[in-house]
């Protein structure tokens, strides 16, 4: 990519950075975004390995810095779960911790300057590389569909199938004549949850990455514009730190709220 940068227009530079490393099956039915899969899985393994090793070596004496950090995160998630969910499930707090740290790590990849990892990959022969998994709609929707499946499972388990159907059909207006109206309203509410959960994370991360790419375009002009680009880059990266943490936190909070709503029975 460095060698052909003279022929590359800004449009093709942007498009090159917005393309995933795709692998298609022979009949075209399966399309895999190998770079998103690679980075999301390796970040998940990193999170699991890190927290597991800290938990195994944890001391009740004076803790080290890594143990302090892990304890901080776990206590924060625990407090958030206790505020919103008043039941007894063993699943919700570890799920919230996983979602928070995993989404945060995936978003954190956005702070690496846009060209570094793709240029390393190009040296090895990989043509396209998008390093932020949460800019891929497949990743964010798979997270939110997982949460949605858990919501349906717990709704059916706690309220029973009959109670679930009753909640869907008799909810705002408690009269049998209003069943179609209720069903439309309640199903829109139910379906908006996973759709908005996935699209919110995708939209924020995609827009943030695109602005990083646009700022990175400035480095290919002359040195004055490049200096201005450095200033913009630093400013936008600092703002983006807030967005990254906030989006991971919101995903976790909404997961907790949806699961606690699925657990409540009247």
């Amino acid at each position: 990519m460095v060698a052909e940068s003279q022929q590359m227009t800004s449009q093709s530079y942007i498009e090159h950075h917005l393309t995933n490393l795709t692998s298609t099956s022979s009949d075209g039915g399966w399309i895999f975004h190998l770079d998103s899969l690679f980075f999301s899985i390796s970040l998940g393994v990193l999170f699991l390995w890190l927290f597991y090793s800290v938990a195994k070596k944890s001391t009740t004496g004076v803790p080290g810095k890594l143990q302090c950090l892990v304890e901080l995160i776990v206590e924060f998630v625990d407090k958030s779960v206790k505020e919103s969910y008043h039941g007894k499930s063993q699943l919700i707090a570890p799920l919230a911790l996983t979602i928070f740290v995993w989404v945060f790590l995936m978003n954190l990849m956005d702070l690496i300057p846009v060209d570094w990892l793709p240029q390393l990959a190009h040296a090895v022969g990989i043509e396209y590389l998008k390093v932020v998994p949460s800019t891929d709609l497949n990743i964010t929707f798979s997270l939110s569909l997982g949460v949605f499946a858990l919501v349906i499972f717990y709704s059916l388990k706690v309220k029973g199938p009959v109670g679930f159907i009753k909640e869907l059909t008799l909810s705002p207006f408690n009269h049998w004549l209003f069943i179609p109206v209720n069903f439309i309203l309640e199903s829109v509410t139910l379906l908006a949850k996973p759709v908005s959960l996935g699209l919110r994370l995708f939209g924020n991360m995609y827009a943030g990455e695109l602005i990083f790419i646009l700022i990175a375009l400035m480095y290919s002009a002359d040195w004055m514009i490049g200096l201005l680009g450095i200033g913009l880059h630093v400013g936008w990266a600092i703002f983006h730190i807030l967005v990254i943490t906030l989006q991971a936190f919101i995903f976790m909070m909404l997961t907790i709220v949806y699961l606690s709503m699925a657990h409540e029975d009247h």
């Binding site: 917005l18 908005s196 699209l199 827009a207 909404l254």
Partner: protein, 85 residues
């Protein structure tokens, strides 16, 4: 071709602009209410701040969806790709 590109430009502007308008008004109302209740009961400020960020995330959601779709249309226009050349 020019028609498609022109309309794409206008639609991207509408997507981003109207989303920004709604979010700005929403955040203004949200922040105003937060400041009022913070002045009324300062001991509740940490809890209210957490809840404010949660509502801010919900406010931002549709706007960000609009921005994402708008930027996608601007840089990788699927409508222009449908044209017969």
């Amino acid at each position: 071709m020019e028609t498609v590109l022109g309309f794409t430009g206008i639609s991207v502007a509408l997507l981003i602009g109207l989303g920004a308008l709604g979010t700005a008004i929403g955040f203004g109302l949200l922040g105003g209410k937060f400041l009022e209740s913070a002045a009324r009961q300062p001991e509740l400020v940490p809890m209210l701040q957490v809840k404010m960020f949660i509502v801010a995330g919900l406010l931002d959601a549709i706007t960000m969806i609009g921005v994402g779709i708008g930027l996608y249309m601007l840089f990788a226009n699927p409508l222009a790709a449908l044209l017969p050349n």
